[in-house]
Symmetry: C2
Subunit: 358 residues, 2 copies
């Protein structure tokens, strides 16, 4: 069977299975506390390690990103995995696939972008590798420090589910840019898309409240699914609690404004090569029926928000931390699966993140 | 200026300069002992970290490598950087660019190859990332443990230069495979090319004798150059001491045998897209003049031997360690530059490794 048929989640599952055979853990297990499966691996002496690959035309396009922005974005995405362990980043390693037609000044901008983020969070670019390659690619490894990492596998029935910031904000920005909607109506969402600041400081401040933790990179429903699976619990999400930014409503308004003339063609245009299929089908249905509901598919499936998604025994948390909104959006129960609670009905959700292989 | 004109070494130099600005070292310097510039970065609590990128048609070809062999090779190459710090590997992180047409069983073979090497050296595959991409790519990060890492920057005048194994053996195997010379005459060299076992155990056993250390991945002359540059010393290599395997002579014999009929076409055929230009020009000259000298260009410029190259205050070391030959090939002096001593003449050498960008 080809990977195209197997799909991304099952491919990862297969790799996990192959590499986690017990025979491997003998000597290494003295040093490694958590291996494959969480946002980062945990070494026993208190380092967490994560690695992320970003490839041109898969994760970013040179059409509307500057090299500086790409540098910022990949560094943010990688450090978000360190935030997702509630650790402090210390070192960043960069393997770069570089087109030989790249200009020296472009390379400088790329690294300046990554440096600006590394600087902001006090970590250092400490190594890497370069390879000449027709497409730009950046593979980052980050090392963070913490003696008490937060995992995705420790959620307990009775806890509450929280998220920082807004759901679907980055995807709102991406679609607005892609559709060339007026930028002034999408300032925050475009910023979240182009430079999704990792919640490092927030994670450290919230740590005392947090039990299980993950970052929202694949889309809320998929990331909640990861917690539910790894913790072997059932999670309910309350549809009317999902924090949505007014710019996400702006997006809807713009889509509707356009769709009044030719709804089909708008949706057609919006169906890009990137990961919008899962979002656009429901959107199309909604436009067709002229019902716009509060439960926004963007909030559930829009990826790359890089917010903190966590469980806590506390029923009430501060409304904001270092200026970032915190919202209680669900509840952990005994059982399995992820459910959306809407109009007193339980709707079972399945991961709908973008599958690279299909 | 484009990277194609700038070249690989200068591009790396530029990245080092950008990322090593003093402003960056404030908080991170509490944790990082050695940053960019050595085989691996050194964290203060005793971890070393290295990252390496291997891309299809740049570093390996699917034409004559099985997926299992590719897995072995990339793991060996990466762990060799851990050996080059005289550390013990504990964890391996794998970012894989995977063509979606890849078969599930091929993916299994690829990871089985990497696992076989990780197992051999007692380290564990602890994380990674996958991306669908038309070409196969593997970007590996390895973490090793040592409280006393060996660096390339500590060579002292008066010391001796040593190398393990044979010089140019891997390149001999690569050319023999490429030219379809009879495999039975090239068993050791083909093995060194396809599965270049990192000298982890040797490095640990030799540690008490070693001062400065690097592995030979770019070709001996380039790697000696790195020690000379980073340690600010002059290094002499004695041409008649270079340890060459009998299979490297076999290669010459086969080339000559072929060249008797059409020397030009043989050389033409051997000029592959990969890194043989630097090797073949001298080879062509030699064939033309019918003089085959002991000082083999393969030994100086053939890459990917992954042997240990080190300086030591000891004038005499054991001839073998764990079955691996050790040869004294040079001397460290005050000054700068790398020189080949041949017929009592000093010939200045310059790095001749393969430049990906040019």
């Amino acid at each position: 069977m080809r990977l195209a048929e197997l799909g991304e989640l099952k491919t990862i599952e297969m790799i996990k299975k192959i590499t986690s055979a017990p025979r491997l853990t003998n000597r290494a297990s003295r040093f490694i506390k958590v291996g494959i499966g969480d946002d980062a691996a945990v070494l026993k002496e208190g380092n967490v390690v994560t690695t992320d690959a970003y490839i041109e035309d898969v994760h970013f396009s040179l059409d509307y990103f500057s090299l500086y922005q790409i540098g910022q974005r990949v560094a943010c995405g990688t450090l978000s995995d360190i935030a997702a362990m509630a650790a402090t980043p210390i070192a960043l390693f960069i393997s770069a696939l570089l087109p030989s037609k790249l200009e020296q000044r472009q390379l400088k901008q790329l690294y300046a972008g990554m440096l600006s983020i590394a600087d902001k969070f006090g970590c250092r670019i400490s190594g890497g590798d370069i390879v000449a390659y027709p497409k730009l690619g950046l593979i980052l490894t980050a090392i963070g420090k913490t003696r008490t990492p937060k995992l995705r596998s420790t959620a307990q029935p009775g806890e509450y589910l929280y998220v920082t910031g807004f759901c679907g904000l980055a995807e709102t920005g991406r679609l607005a840019l892609k559709q060339k909607f007026p930028k002034k109506d999408f300032i925050q969402s475009i910023k979240r898309h182009t430079c999704p600041c990792p919640r490092i400081f927030e994670a450290i401040k919230l740590k005392k409240y947090i039990n299980a933790l993950i970052d929202t990179s694949d889309g809320l429903s998929t990331d909640v699914f990861h917690i539910a699976e790894e913790s072997r619990v059932k999670i309910k999400i309350f549809a009317d609690k999902l924090p949505m930014h007014k710019e996400t409503y702006n997006l809807y308004n713009w889509v509707i404004a356009k769709s009044k003339t030719t709804p089909q063609s708008v949706v057609q245009k919006m169906r890009t090569k990137l990961h919008t299929r899962a979002i656009l089908q429901p959107l199309k249905d909604e436009i067709a029926s002229h019902t716009l509901e509060m439960t926004n598919p963007l909030a559930l499936n829009g990826g790359e928000d890089y917010e903190l998604l966590f469980t806590s025994a506390y029923q009430k948390l501060p409304a904001k931390i270092t200026g970032t909104k915190i919202t209680r959006i669900g509840k952990i129960e005994k059982g399995s699966g992820v459910y959306l609670i809407k109009d007193n009905k339980e709707i079972r959700l399945y991961p709908k993140g973008y599958d690279h292989f299909q």
